[in-house]
Symmetry: C2
Subunit: 111 residues, 2 copies
DNA sequence: ACAATTGTCAAGTGAATACTTAAGTAACGA
DNA sequence: TCGTTACTTAAGTATTCACTTGACAATTGT
């Protein structure tokens, strides 16, 4: 089992590939097996498995094998991590803009 | 000038590289020139310029040349796009979990 | 027992990627 | 005007990456 702690570097690297994003997209609808994941994907099963390894290493996806079928599900903490990284940078930028705006609007606040 | 419309594919590809994320990180503190961006980065100026091209193509960064210095700034719409993509998938997953929870909590809602 | 399903593993290939070096251009500053 | 600064561009290189093929293992249905 061994749940991987999500890591910013790996998460963004994983999301950088369009096929892996398609996998995440599909998984957001619910858990699904490897072969059903592969069906719409125009690549071999082996390639899909490789993508899943990357996704699991990154902590974006968790999988569990029961019998001969491996079921894959999203690990939302991985997505949150990336979302937060982006949000942090964006809001830092926007707060900066606000401060600039304030300075321009009221150049003298000495009272 | 020609502001590039941000595009999900390019944005995620751009954010997939750690050096480019470091650049975005730095830019979130405010606009800065190419050479000052490069200073802490342990790679050549030429490499930084190449990363900036990718970032600009993706719509994450905007640059403007005045005299001999090119000033770079974040384009927050690019970050928002990625943030939204992630948020959409995460919330779809979470809504699904909620529905499942409801079903388990109240198996008979026929009234 | 046997065949089909579902996935795993290893090796190889071609393309993309990040990086360097080197040579050049344009603007600024004394 | 002449040197320095701040990029820019092109070409080459080494590595990483996505993908395929093919051989294999385990599980399940008949």
């Amino acid at each position: 089992m061994h749940k991987k702690k999500p890591n910013v570097d790996r998460v963004f690297h994983a999301l950088g590939d369009p096929t892996r994003r398609a996998i995440v997209e599909k998984l957001s609808e619910g858990p699904i097996s490897v072969s059903r994941l592969a069906e719409p994907l125009d690549i071999t099963l082996a390639a899909v498995v490789q993508h899943l390894q990357v996704l699991e290493e990154s902590g974006l996806v968790q999988t569990e094998k029961t019998g001969r079928v491996r079921t894959c599900r999203i690990e939302p903490a991985g997505l949150s991590l990336a979302e937060q990284w982006i949000g942090d940078r964006r809001s830092r930028w926007e707060r900066r803009l606000d401060r600039l705006g304030d300075l321009l609007a009221e150049p003298d606040e000495s009272k």
